[in-house]
């Protein structure tokens, strides 16, 4: 790499007197004095959340209202700070989506441990867990800072789904069953 040697010029008299520099600085600051504020009045004004933002992890339902999590526990295993705790459970035979077979009995995310890395969202094979726009959580106790399953669904809401994986599986299974008979 070529080395460019710059000659260090001696300071001129004006520069040594500091005064032109001070005047230039004063001109800049007075401009800022009259320019509009760059800050937000936080609780009243909220920042616009950019797409792809990694906020609080939440559980989502598909447009039919089915909970998407199948309690495979991949997120629990991948979670670096071990913030996720899942108790797997079954789905009763009589349910419409009985073919999914499993759903979480309990799903806790400890927001005091969560580091918002997004690995749970990345690893989820069911697209059930998403880090959404919520960025501010608070509570008066450690217990309050643990998001339980109901709270996670409440925060997550419903996200659009293009796959409807389990509906298609059920349909395929039914068709296959029809062919055998």
């Amino acid at each position: 790499m070529a080395v460019v040697t710059l000659e260090r010029k001696p300071l001129s008299f004006a520069e040594r007197s500091y005064l032109p520099q001070v005047a230039a600085g004063l001109r800049i600051t007075i401009k800022h004095l009259f320019s509009p504020n760059k800050t937000l009045q936080y609780p009243e004004e909220r920042p616009a959340i950019p797409p792809g933002y990694r906020g609080v992890p939440t559980l989502v339902k598909d447009p039919n209202g089915r909970e998407k999590c199948v309690s495979c526990q991949l997120c629990e295993f991948v979670c670096p700070p071990k913030a996720i705790r899942i108790v797997p459970g079954g789905i009763p035979e009589s349910a419409a989506n009985a073919n999914v077979e499993k759903a979480p009995q309990a799903f806790d995310i400890d927001m005091l441990r969560c580091i918002y890395c997004g690995l749970c969202q990345e690893v989820c094979p069911e697209e059930a867990i998403f880090l959404q726009n919520l960025y501010s959580t608070s509570g008066y106790s450690r217990g309050e800072m643990v998001n339980h399953k109901e709270r996670l669904y409440e925060l997550g809401g419903t996200l659009p789904d293009t796959h409807f994986k389990w509906d298609r599986k059920r349909k395929a299974a039914e068709e296959a069953a029809g062919r055998h008979v």
Partner: protein, 381 residues
């Protein structure tokens, strides 16, 4: 107005003094809020604008306005200083530690006595300055008393028995002593100009303003235009004397935590704070009186003519009020300038401060003095 100028009795003097202090003290407090606001605006922030008592929020226009300018933050801060725990660290010399902030207030509030803050036109058409003590030594008294302020800084630094405080105190004292020379030398041309040789001399500040109120082109010229170098040296030395940025050696919070008041808190600290602003107010007052025409609204427009325009020339009370308002407005502008500079220029290094003081400002002040001595001698020959 007779009773105000001629009736000299003890209680009246005390009352007048108290009245002036009652203006100075809140003004200094308000300056602290102005400092925060100006700082915020320069940094593109709105600044403190939250605190409001819930019952005041019901007042339609005034309530939101007072909230926006942070008036209640100011009150809350003041109350906080009163109600906070008074902590006196264990390692300090208690007597001097308590004495230092008191000593800081005394010169800060005393100098105002010889500073005229307005004037009215007496029955005989002469200008009567509004001041607590119209003494001939005027400016000399300001310098003499204001320089006592350095003792409080030294005392605070010494009594705190802490390295940071001590260094801050030492730096501040060296700085104040260095810049006092330039400060004093820079105003001498003004008084050489005012005082005719052989005649009765005066160092009164009111006389300096009277000289800037004379009719004619040269009479009405503010000394800022006649003696720009004097004004510049005085202004720079004033920044150093009031420990303002960029000469913030006494505090230099980046390297000395808080400088001389590191160990102070609560009310004692607030006394230092108010004293600093009082010094600023008096300092800018003196600058305005000497170089910016005092209570004259504009260059070449003396107060008397301005009063004539307003049609209040015959009413001394109104003229006096107008002059005080003009003077206060100029002081506030000067204080804004102090703040503007503070949030623009970073602090000088200690060696830079000393170099500017001794190798630039002092020779400049001496050369300036010589120039005007010779110039005035030639003019009056």
């Amino acid at each position: 107005m007779n009773f105000f100028t001629q009736f000299h009795s003890m209680p009246l003097d005390v009352l007048k003094g108290l009245a002036v202090i009652c203006v100075m003290f809140p003004l200094a407090g308000a300056c602290s809020m102005a400092e925060r606001k100006v700082c915020a605006w320069i940094q593109d922030r709105p600044g403190p604008n939250r605190a409001i008592p819930f019952w005041f929020a019901w007042v339609p226009v005034l309530g939101p306005f007072m909230q926006k300018i942070g008036a209640f933050h100011l009150l809350a801060d003041g109350l906080k200083f009163l109600f906070k725990e008074e902590i006196t660290p264990g390692q300090v010399n208690r007597r001097y530690f308590v004495l230092a902030p008191i000593l800081a207030m005394i010169p800060a509030l005393t100098t105002v006595a010889v500073v005229p803050f307005g004037a009215f036109i007496g029955a005989d058409g002469s200008l009567v300055p509004l001041m607590l003590a119209n003494v001939d030594i005027g400016l000399l008294a300001v310098f003499a008393i204001a320089s006592l302020g350095v003792y409080s800084v030294i005392l605070a630094g010494w009594a705190s028995n802490s390295k940071y405080s001590f260094l801050g105190g030492v730096r501040a004292s060296a700085q104040l002593i260095s810049y006092e020379l330039s400060l004093t030398l820079s105003v001498l041309p003004v008084f050489l100009w005012i005082n005719a040789p052989g005649g009765p001399g005066t160092l009164g500040l009111a006389n300096a303003v009277e000289f800037q109120s004379l009719p004619g082109f040269w009479g009405g010229t503010w000394f800022l235009f006649l003696m720009p170098v004097s004004a510049l040296v005085f202004l720079i030395a004033l920044f150093a004397e009031t420990n303002r940025q960029p000469f913030d050696m006494a505090e230099s919070e980046a390297d000395l935590v808080g400088g001389f008041h590191t160990e102070y808190g609560a009310f004692k600290w607030s006394l230092f704070f108010v004293a600093e602003y009082c010094h600023m107010i008096i300092g800018s007052g003196v600058f305005i009186l000497l170089f910016l025409g005092g209570w004259n609204p504009l260059p070449w427009v003396p107060l008397a003519r301005f009063a004539g325009w307003l049609g209040i020339a015959g009413l001394p009370l109104l003229v006096g009020t107008v002059s005080v308002v003009i003077f206060l407005a100029k002081i506030l502008l000067m204080i804004f300038f102090f703040m503007w500079v503070r949030w623009t220029v970073p602090r000088f290094r200690y060696d830079q401060v000393m170099r500017i003081g001794w190798r630039i400002l002092l020779p400049l002040a001496v050369a300036n003095l010589l120039f005007y001595v010779i110039g005035i001698a030639l003019l009056q020959r």
